[in-house]
Amino acid sequence: MANADRVRVRGLSIARPIVYGNSARLLTSKERENVPPEHTHRWTVALRSAASAPGSDIVGGADDLSYFLKRVSFKLHETYPNPVRNIDKPPFELSETGWGEFEVHIKLHFIPESGEKVITIYHHLKLHPWSLSGDTESIPPLEVAQKAGTVHSWQYEEIVFNDPYQNFLNILTNNPPTPIPRTNTSGRTIPFHIGNPASFESLKGGVPEFTSLLEKDEAERLDKAKKLIIAEQEKTRALLIAKEKELARLQKMLNG
């Protein structure tokens, strides 16, 4: 155990589930008095643990991630003063006001015991309500925006550590993640995702939450797709074999 921070445990990967993304809402006219005039929205971008704390109204955040995250830095658009915002202690989130959507570069700095470099992930800050038609250019009118309430854009993700140092592994195993619920707890909806057609329902409002039901549904969708493809493959292969036979027959006729 002497060199626990120098010895890697081989053949093992350990992961931690997180959610990252943002929530945004329109500023009321009262609030707009105190901010630069172009700003229309208040948004919060965050990186939290995947499971939600019971009774909270934010997405995720049940666990304190500082046991393996030293710092999270959010790099905003250049037009913001000090665009690189470093958050050194939990909760790893940042609130601001603004008017436009842009890409936030989120950099994760791990604790020194991990021996890991900084990893980056990108998030498109979502201010305007989702539109099913996929029309990204037009900004919805005010009434539509007000009706939508808070706009959420979150992504579930897993950070994977490969062959961790023994020491780091111990730190991680001493802090197991809260498991995500099987289905939506009361008051929560499915997060909107283009990959999941069923999530269009949730555009009506509600704080989203990631559940293992979502995962299972996706797994089923993938399996179904695979079966379809393989059935098609079998058909094509049988056709191919028949055609090859015909080709051989024609060859024989030609040469014979």
């Binding site: 890697r8 081989r10 053949g11 093992l12 990967s13 350990i14 992961a15 931690r16 589930p17 791990f110 991990s114 890991e116 470099k117 990893i119 992930i121 992504q155 579930y156 993700e157 897993e158 950070i159 994977v160 550590f161 490969n162 062959d163 991680l172 195993t173 197991p176 993640p177 498991p179 997060p191 283009i194 990959g195 999941n196 057609p197 990631f210 979502l214 995962e215 996706e218 797994a219 969708r221 993938l222 179904k224 797709a225 695979k226 493809i229 393989i230 059935a231 493959q233 094509t236 292969r237 049988a238 191919l240 074999i241 055609k243 090859e244 015909e246 080709l247 024609l250 060859q251 030609l254």
Partner: protein
């Protein structure tokens, strides 16, 4: 021996009545007491007497089991019916006797036993990629598979009927080896619906080790051909070995016990590795010792081996999932060599995307089956693997379709060549595969006169493409002096 009453009845003397009884009583009495018992003969009764205990057992009516009533109480009508057999490919109807009450539409009872083994076929592409073998030509392999299908993979029959004209002599093990290795390769290289486990099970069913089989058959043959002396010798040796084993175990146990009692419990004796059978015997012995030697605590010795097991083995499946741990096989290289450390990453970043050339087609296909390749809703380990395998399957399908298209194209080409050959009667003129563009090759100017009749009939079945081609030639030819007959033919056709 005749009783008194018997004598009297024989001699027709009046029965003696007991003085106190009335007429009915004596009759009863007589009836009761002197009645010969049923079940045993009269003589025996008089020998044994009425109060013998065995009498009761004898008298008991044999309570045989009732004959089971098979429900065939009523009469069953049987009739001769023609039936259709689902397992037959022709529609021959045979007849059999069947109860009239039997359902006439049900399938033939034994049709379900007509089990066919799964036939493996391969495409040329697959053959050239995976199934090439130095000792087996493609034709011979096809012949083998044809036989295998015909004879239901019964190897002895196949071996007997196997007669490939130009091939070397094939033993049954060679045939089996080639067949099973082809099947295994096909399974491994085709995308598999369902999980890895069922795939590996199927693969296992096709395991065939040629060397081992040959050796095994040799052994079995030699086993059957032993002379009686050899058999006896072997048995004697076997008994010897068993005896030696027993002695050895006994010896070891005694030695250990002795050393323990002499040198004390923690004598630092290494655990003696005994096989399972002896361990079962050993445990009751250890328990006995516990009972006897209460001052010598046995437990420290027993716990020592438990602690020696490394603590890492505590990890089990539940632990792994709670900590999101995934174990891969530890790399075969020793830790001393510098294995490059893959840094931490986000799982969705590491999803593999299809190759650039066919990426669009693959993504379109995936969209058709309802999968977006760009992002997963929940990129967990399992789902990422699933996505990868779906992407692989899609890629394979695209490849297959491409090969199919190529083959179709080849068929078209060949068909055209054949048609042309019929027209022109000159196979030498149809040179190569580029004749779609090669207008000069059309045989019209050449063979018209001799073959006009057959040409006409052949042309009536021609595809539109071809007629168009000939029409353009006709426009060329009208400028050249040709016989009038071809032109009229063309006009007729138009």
């Amino acid at each position: 021996m005749a009783s008194a009453s018997d004598v009297r009845s024989i001699l027709s003397l009046p029965a003696v009545s007991s003085p106190a009884a009335g007429p009915s009583q004596p009759k009863n009495q007589v009836a009761v007491s002197n009645r010969k018992p049923e079940g045993i003969s009269r003589e025996l009764y008089s020998l044994i007497g009425p109060s013998a205990p065995t009498l009761l057992a004898q008298l008991a009516q044999p309570r045989l089991k009732q004959k089971p009533n098979l429900g065939g109480g009523g009469k069953v009508k049987w009739e001769w019916r023609l039936f259709k057999n689902g397992a037959r490919s022709d529609s021959l109807k045979l007849g059999h006797w069947v109860k009239a009450t039997d359902n006439p539409d049900a399938d033939y009872k034994f049709a379900k036993y007509n089990a066919q083994p799964t036939v493996y076929e391969w495409s040329q592409d697959e053959y050239s990629r995976h199934l090439e073998d130095s000792e087996w030509t493609k034709e011979e392999t096809e012949y083998l598979f044809k036989l295998a299908q015909e004879y239901d993979i019964r190897w002895h029959i196949i071996n007997d009927r196997y007669e490939y004209p130009s091939g070397p002599k094939r033993e049954i093990e060679d045939l089996k080896d080639r067949y099973y290795s082809v099947c295994r390769k096909l399974i491994r290289n085709r995308t598999w619906a369902g999980d890895e486990f069922s795939k590996s099970q199927l693969l296992l069913s096709f395991q065939y080790d040629k060397e081992r089989e040959i050796l095994r058959k040799k052994y079995v043959a030699s086993l059957a051909n032993r002379t009686p002396e050899q058999i006896q010798e072997e048995e004697a040796l076997y008994i010897e070995i068993k005896r030696l084993d027993q002695n050895e175990r006994q010896f070891k146990r005694d030695r250990e016990n002795l050393l323990r009692t002499i040198a004390g419990v923690d004598s630092g004796l290494p655990d003696i590795i005994e096989d399972d059978a002896s361990l079962i015997i050993a445990d009751p012995k250890k328990k006995k010792l516990k009972g006897i030697d209460l001052d010598i605590p046995q437990t420290p010795v027993l716990t020592a081996p438990v602690m020696r097991r490394p603590p890492a083995l505590n990890k089990n499946a539940v632990y792994d999932t709670t900590h999101c741990i995934i174990r891969n096989d530890p790399p075969s290289t020793t830790p001393a060599t510098k294995v490059a450390h893959t840094p931490a990453y986000f799982r969705s970043v590491r999803i593999s995307y299809p190759k650039a050339g066919i990426a669009d087609k693959v993504n379109a296909l995936l969209a058709e089956v309802g999968v977006t390749n760009s992002r997963l809703v929940m990129p967990t380990h399992a789902n990422c693997q699933r996505l990868e395998s779906v992407t692989d399957a899609a890629t394979n399908l695209i490849e297959l379709k491409r090969v199919l298209d190529k083959v179709n194209l080849d068929i078209e080409v060949l068909k055209n060549r054949l048609q042309l050959r019929e027209d022109g009667g000159d196979s030498a003129s149809v040179a190569d595969a580029t004749e779609m563009d090669d207008r000069g090759d059309t045989a019209e100017p050449e063979g018209e006169n001799g073959r006009s009749q057959s040409v006409l009939s052949a042309r009536s079945t021609r595809s539109r493409k071809h007629t168009r081609r000939s029409m353009s030639i006709s426009s060329v030819d009208t400028t050249v002096a040709t016989s009038s007959r071809p032109s009229t033919k063309r006009q007729k056709r138009m």
